[in-house]
Symmetry: C2
Subunit: 354 residues, 2 copies
Amino acid sequence: MAGGVGSRFWPMSRTEHPKQFIDVLGTGRTLLQQTYDRFIRICRKENIIIVTNESYTDLVREQLPALPVENILCEPARKNTAPCIAYAAYRIAEKNPNAVMVVAPSDHLITKEETFLKAIRSCFRKAGTEDCLVTLGINPTRPDTGYGYIQFRESEQKEKDRRIKKVKTFTEKPDHDMAKFFMESGDFLWNSGIFIWSVKSIIHELERSLPEMATLFGEGKGIYHTGKEPAFIREVYSKCKNVSIDYAVMEKAENVYVRSSIIGWSDLGTWGSLYDHIRKNENGNAVVGKNVMVYDSKNCIVHMPKEKLVVIEGLDGYIVAESDGILLICKKQDEQQIRNIVNDVKVKRGDKFV
Amino acid sequence: MAGGVGSRFWPMSRTEHPKQFIDVLGTGRTLLQQTYDRFIRICRKENIIIVTNESYTDLVREQLPALPVENILCEPARKNTAPCIAYAAYRIAEKNPNAVMVVAPSDHLITKEETFLKAIRSCFRKAGTEDCLVTLGINPTRPDTGYGYIQFRESEQKEKDRRIKKVKTFTEKPDHDMAKFFMESGDFLWNSGIFIWSVKSIIHELERSLPEMATLFGEGKGIYHTGKEPAFIREVYSKCKNVSIDYAVMEKAENVYVRSSIIGWSDLGTWGSLYDHIRKNENGNAVVGKNVMVYDSKNCIVHMPKEKLVVIEGLDGYIVAESDGILLICKKQDEQQIRNIVNDVKVKRGDKFV
């Protein structure tokens, strides 16, 4: 899934060039490319499908030149994750009704790749042999109020992989006290947004929870993989609901499992989460940019265009980021303000800056 | 005089494009242009001469297109103010030995232009009728240790302009206690570096205080205003001393007068002095730049390229300046560090950045 906008990462992430297409970590590979690199180890490129907004098609082509062009699915509108996943599932089913699929955001960080692939393989086995939906859960390390939480219980059946548990409830973005309670109870995991299921199972659940949407995509039988697909999809997207898979399907389904995984995961949803995952020097400064010179400063995250000369003196705990000619200087503890600021920029200076 | 480098104003002021050529105040006119605009009110453009380093000739031409090209004097080397002034004085004397000249830096701020012009006119009368050197003195408003101080006493003769006093001593950059004493005594003025004298008087003093330099420039008789002038000047500059007019002449001369003036003057020598003279909003933020958006910040000076979008959140008392692709963020109270930082940048990144 590579259609998102990532507004909390402004100005690095912009509507015209969002986070997944950026080398956020300064490694030389964008997040989309890193996600591709991760999956190519267990999946042939012919079986990797990128669903993205049609305005990003060229970016995907540029960044993943090895990917077959027909594997880029273009969404004509932003309708959240349910239509995106439905589109991919119905299209895959047309070719192989017995396929098992992994759904993954393209803008997340996973540092423990081996452990991640092991987890995916285990979930694949589960989803390939049972009619169920499986999700990767992350052990919470702080009472984060920005994530969804998954409550689990021991499975009735004996799981081969003891890390796989039955899901009891989904809770979106709790308040701080509840998040603290969730974390301390030990019965909750963060929802990573990474799902594993057979196309049969997810289509079955779509038919149950989103029957209108299922009907719309189901009418594409015989159209997928043909020249009529784009026009058909445009029509479907104009009619279908804007809704997330979590809210519309996962929260209502019965046979949902979660596998707890320690995979060095972050959704890189905010500058702070990037700071947590980037290398810091002895003063706690995390710097991306070749010509950044820092004096008497600490706990800063600095993200600058490669060649730009930047001198920073006397800053403690700030985000300093420039992208595409837009500069942001913001106290790290105020990063939740960025979304409001971006709205203000949009109102006062126009769409082209956001 | 437009040959200086202005290193404390980095990164706005750079060796290749120093302060006098920059619209420091965001008014639409550079400091050089503002200086020209100030003098054109009392002086024909044929009589305005710009002495600058040869590397800035094109900048002067661009910024002052109305100025006759032959009025731009090129210095082949940086030799401080004495050679610069000697060059202009001898060259003017060749055409008009009875001329009276004003010498002024091109990178200063003067906000009270009427008062300034009145002061200049009065000094002109004094210098046009007596063999003397006159300088503009500024009433000190703080014990600044970066300026030169001029001690005065009442003139023996009765001055028509009672603001004109006889100079007793010059003192360069005193320490804080001495500067405080100077200020409180009421007998001291800041040395503005603006001088008024007849070419006869200054040449006479050069012959007395800098006889070698006077001989060198004196040999140009018949060469000034001809095609041989550039080669001659190159030869003279290779031989002549690097010294300031204050140290070499003013401090030793007898017949020196100062006129105290309240002209809204600043040498704009540091970011802090710019902050003092620029318009601030209700939070004490002084902003140059059309697209600078400031949230929860105070006492900052922000100087950005015209169109650049900049968002600043949660800063108190900082300099944020970008020029020609170089960004500086520095605590205002640490601005004296900038010179060291610039040296460090020079050592670590090379000359092209300073």
